[in-house]
Symmetry: C2
Subunit: 204 residues, 2 copies
């Protein structure tokens, strides 16, 4: 090894030691053991798929999971097919009315939202659920299909060990406030705009 190379190795080692110290310090300062509320928002691709990735994560440890999807088209997408066919241990419910711009029926949508919320409420009271995913719930708030206070209070009153993942664009500040973690998925570039069709097994 040349001197230049061994210098590079040494610099790398020092830099990594410093980074490790900083990471270790952050880990050491986080001591509270409790479930979290995670909000995945923004206009970019990856919110629902991220929620499903966390479902896999919880299942890897044998934890009980509930997945409730608000909105969604009438056709099952790949991850929904997989849940239905391969993961019967997951409690899975879909509002199933399709997108609100397809139904164009406000009172019908509200009735369906209420029916779906009636599935969510018992999950948020049941400590056997380690993880509850409420996919696209933000639209229920922005369209005022469901009462914000009722949702916020139910999430806040959930068992200490339960985590909740909320997805969808927007959703308002109250939901951001109760979230422990908020990730905004920003659309920097989308294949759509280059004329590429949504891809089966990737986009749906």
């Amino acid at each position: 090894m040349t001197d230049k190379n061994s210098e590079k190795e040494e610099r790398h080692k020092k830099k990594m030691q410093k980074q490790k110290q900083s990471i270790d310090a952050t880990i050491a300062s986080a001591v509270k053991e409790q479930g979290v509320v995670i909000l995945l928002t923004g206009d970019g691709k990856g919110k629902t798929s991220s929620a499903f990735g966390m479902v896999l994560r919880a299942l890897g440890y044998g934890y009980r999971v509930g997945v409730v999807q608000f909105i969604k088209g009438e056709q099952l997408s790949g991850e929904e097919l997989f849940l239905k066919n391969e993961l019967p241990e997951v409690d899975f419910y879909q509002m199933g009315t399709g997108f609100t711009w397809d139904t164009q029926d406000r009172s019908g949508d509200i009735a369906a939202a209420e029916k779906t919320w009636a599935v969510v409420e018992p999950m948020l009271k049941d400590e056997r659920y380690h993880l509850v995913v409420l996919d696209e719930i933000t639209y229920m708030l922005s369209f005022k299909y469901l009462d914000e206070d009722r949702i916020i209070n139910a999430i806040k009153a959930r068992p200490t060990n339960q985590s909740v993942v909320l997805t969808g664009r927007g959703g308002g500040s109250a939901i951001r406030d109760i979230a422990d973690t908020v990730s905004e998925v920003k659309d920097i570039k989308h294949a759509y705009h280059s004329g590429i069709k949504a891809r089966k097994g990737v986009d749906f």
Copy 2:
């Protein structure tokens, strides 16, 4: 129904019709049928879990999937346990050296990166793979562990029907340029900073 209510219904319907027209137009203008390159980057939570959600999506249709993880700790996280134990049909490989700030060993990391890339290359030439996930590959570029041109060219030369998901912070402009879709996951808020410990079945 009161007049005010029916007005509201009507306004909602018109708004949704307009939104549907705009969405339908975008869908109609996207006609190219081909695999895509998706880059999930940024400092927020949800990049790897999103990639795993897309794995589920592809599996829902019975497509063949390859998952290769660069970096990663020596302990398997929930989604990795699930892949190993429940989804033997997925071709799964981990570099397995742990984080570069843990190893603090530049030449060892480079050797491991090269060994891992040797697993990726045949996947990127094999049209039987519908989806290939290269988790945390961006660090291999930012640390200059792997040659950028070699990676870019291999991804560009892949079979037309194959999609590739790349995850990790940063990664440079060349990788952004070849990506059809780029989502930046921004860390708006993280439970860590409120002293809440990383959660098993949610964070790992």
